[in-house]
Amino acid sequence: MKNKKFSSLLKEWYEGNLSFDERMDSDIHKKETAETEEKEIRLVKDVEKAEKELTSKGYKFFSVIFCVILALILILTVNFMPLFADDSTPTANEVYEHYVGEGRDQTGAVNTVAGMILDYRAFDTLGESFVLFTATCAVLLLLEQSKKQKVKEKESFTFSNDPIVCTIVKIITPIIIVFGVYVLFNGHISPGGGFSGGSVLGAGFILFAMAYGEDNAAKIITPKIIRVITICSLSFYCLAKSYSFFTGNEFNGIHSIITPGTPGDIVSGGLILPLNIAVGLVVCCTMYSFYMVFKRGRLD
């Protein structure tokens, strides 16, 4: 066995004709000297190393092949799909005609998407808000550190001493926050709404925290404020939508006091504006707490 060439041995082993155990057994019958043992160990190591290299190359090749085949199968399916931007697609059915045609008069929102997600499908959006809330809770549970395990200042990456970042952020943060509030409050009459406005607001606060240091930001936006805002928004959403769900039915004799109002006004669309604000606050708090928890390990 020793006389065999390394490559042929490797080939044999790789094809499954030779296993390590067999070789060990056959070696026991031979005279065991220190030299052969050493050689054997080296050989085993070499074989393992080569095998690893081979599999890693094969692995990459196989994954590329897999990717191409998967893409080809999916593209083959695309061939049988309805045409893009065509008038007669099956998605353009009576549901869409109802939402667009009567959505404005029923919900009071000029923006049909806002009217759809916050009125017809409001419980879906409530679920989304709770997904965000649960994600915040889970991230806090996983990553929150006590104050004793404070991250050393030198280790953590900070912008607070950078003059360029600080100056730009000083100018740009108020503009971002005002724009976020605009998007939030105009969700029912223009493109935008709770999720986009909340993300813009959250980005503004994250920039603020980046430039002025997380310690200073945490003094202004304390964990208590974040907690209170999130829980109040979620409970308000729950109660308001439950009310409109209960009174929306014409048969129990209770009439909702919330009216759609004049479409196009800022205060219109019934519950859509308050719900947009609630969702936006939840999204904003979630973004901000994600940043703070990943950066410093805690909110305060």
Binding site: F66, A71, N79, V113, P191, F290
Partner: protein, 125 residues
């Protein structure tokens, strides 16, 4: 050729295939999470493009007057994509937090190595 007209669907399928391959075959956890995000992007592109109809307006109707539904594109896929984006953000954050915990314990992002270490720990017990 349908494929040339459905170019957005072809693009999203390619994105899906790349992301899925990354998700399944990559050993690095960070790359897995990135792959999942690419899959998400493909799905959003696919969904959002389903609602578009050539020559029609965005679904923001005028404040007064009659509304003809056939003048506007389909708003439903946009609402669905919104849901997907929110879920993917939460999911990515949760996965990244778990990755941070794994890295703090095992000091590596390679799933195979983490698995080996876990097995050794089990054997020692």
């Amino acid at each position: 050729m349908n494929l040339l007209i459905n170019y957005e669907a072809v693009t999203s399928m390619v994105l899906f295939a790349i992301g899925f391959t990354m998700l399944v075959f990559s050993r690095n956890i960070m790359k897995k999470i990135l792959g999942l995000n690419i899959v998400d992007t493909g799905v959003y592109l696919f969904l959002a493009s389903m609602g578009y109809i050539e020559g029609k307006l965005t679904p923001i109707v005028p404040a007064t007057g009659e509304v003809n539904a056939l003048d506007y594109i389909n708003p439903i896929p946009q609402g669905l994509v919104l849901t997907g984006i929110v879920v993917s953000v939460s999911f990515s954050a949760l996965m990244l937090a778990l990755t941070v915990r794994l890295y703090k314990k095992y000091r590596t992002l390679n799933l195979d190595k983490i698995y080996e270490m876990c097995r050794k720990e089990d054997e020692q017990k």
